[in-house]
Symmetry: C2
Subunit: 221 residues, 2 copies
């Protein structure tokens, strides 16, 4: 297909595609004339992946480049490839390495040991978690081991289903694409549903009068 069709089918503007070609994020097409090149399905798949990383992941080009290298390096195992993508999502937190931070970190280490989770000490999510625990402690509402465990168990049940859904025989690019999109975009899904669930539970616990029943039902899709 020509670049115009590649643009149409991928939803990525021609100017952006040309930029990716210049930056070598996208391999060159097969030249058919001085100013014409032919692109194939692998270009389309790569564009989808770049778009997912840039739009859903909000990743800068340097991170995208690193992930694409991991996808292209067939010697790298699936776990390491997915890890490269997840770690690239960050967040990059400056670690203060003071007493508060280290105490929260020790609490997390104990939790992870108790759960038997296999995670590296470099996981950016560890910093995200530490930061939240430090903030809770500062505001006088420290997280308890039991409380944290409830969140960890809910997270584990979701993650188990999520990882089980990855097809290990799928192309590497598709696996990374799904993983990054699912990791990033189900975060607001989970957060929003928790807030709605809180509203519902609060209504049941504290609202003086129940909602009027049976508004006209809406069509389902």
């Amino acid at each position: 297909m020509l670049i115009s069709e590649l643009s149409r089918r991928s939803g990525v503007p021609v100017a952006t595609i040309k930029y990716y070609l210049r930056e070598r994020l996208l391999p060159a097409g097969a030249a058919t004339a001085a100013t014409r090149a032919e692109y194939g399905e692998r270009h389309l798949a790569r564009l989808r992946l770049i778009r997912a990383l840039a739009e859903a992941g909000g990743l800068p080009l340097a991170s995208i480049r690193r992930i694409l290298s991991a996808v292209d390096d067939e010697h790298l195992g699936v776990h390491e490839m997915l890890g490269t993508a997840q770690y690239a999502l960050g967040p990059a937190i400056e670690v203060p390495d003071d007493e508060e931070w280290n105490a929260a970190r020790a609490q997390i280490a104990a939790l992870i040991e108790e759960l038997g989770w296999r995670v590296t000490p470099y996981a950016p999510a560890l910093d995200m978690l530490t930061q939240a625990l430090v903030a809770l402690r500062r505001l006088g509402l420290p997280a308890t081991a039991r409380g944290l465990r409830a969140y960890a168990e809910a997270a584990q049940a979701l993650a188990r289903t999520e990882i089980a859904r990855i097809d290990p025989s799928a192309p590497r690019a598709a696996m990374v694409e799904r993983t990054v999109v699912a990791t990033v975009l189900y975060e607001p899904v989970l957060i929003a549903l928790r807030r709605l669930a809180q509203e519902n539970e609060s209504a049941r616990a504290f609202a003086a009068t129940p909602d009027k029943p049976a508004r006209p039902s809406r069509p389902r899709r």
Copy 2:
């Protein structure tokens, strides 16, 4: 206590306290001389609440003022008071009201009806959820009803415990403080734990060699 002690006990700088006094977010103390005033426990509690809303919630003064009014309005029920605080957290999303948006909204309405949740159509979390569903569909990975339901059920189990922990006989300010802090700061906790759980599940499913067993164990706290 004097303003210096109020500052020390609340962790809020004197200049900030004076600013809150000028903005009438904090009631004036009892004047003991032309330039001296005495503050009490209710000032301390109010400062804690303002600090939680500003630091954990990242809320602007206008939102904080609205929440404080809800706390002070004893005619307002607990559910409405907590709802005022939660809705103030936003996010404020500009609703495009196009076909994609409305389709995602209809999917959410069907889910909420199926779950029997009592939430108003004005909940900002509905917009957050709609935005994520639209993005998933655009990236070619639309959320299924069954998939969403799994996240909703995990959210409901957490929310039930969270709301049950609220003591309805506690002072109104303390209820709002706990709710906002818990809503906001357990979001990164949940997100981080999900990412760590994904890493663990991925290691179990895809890593070629298991981690070396038994590194020297760390002290627990």
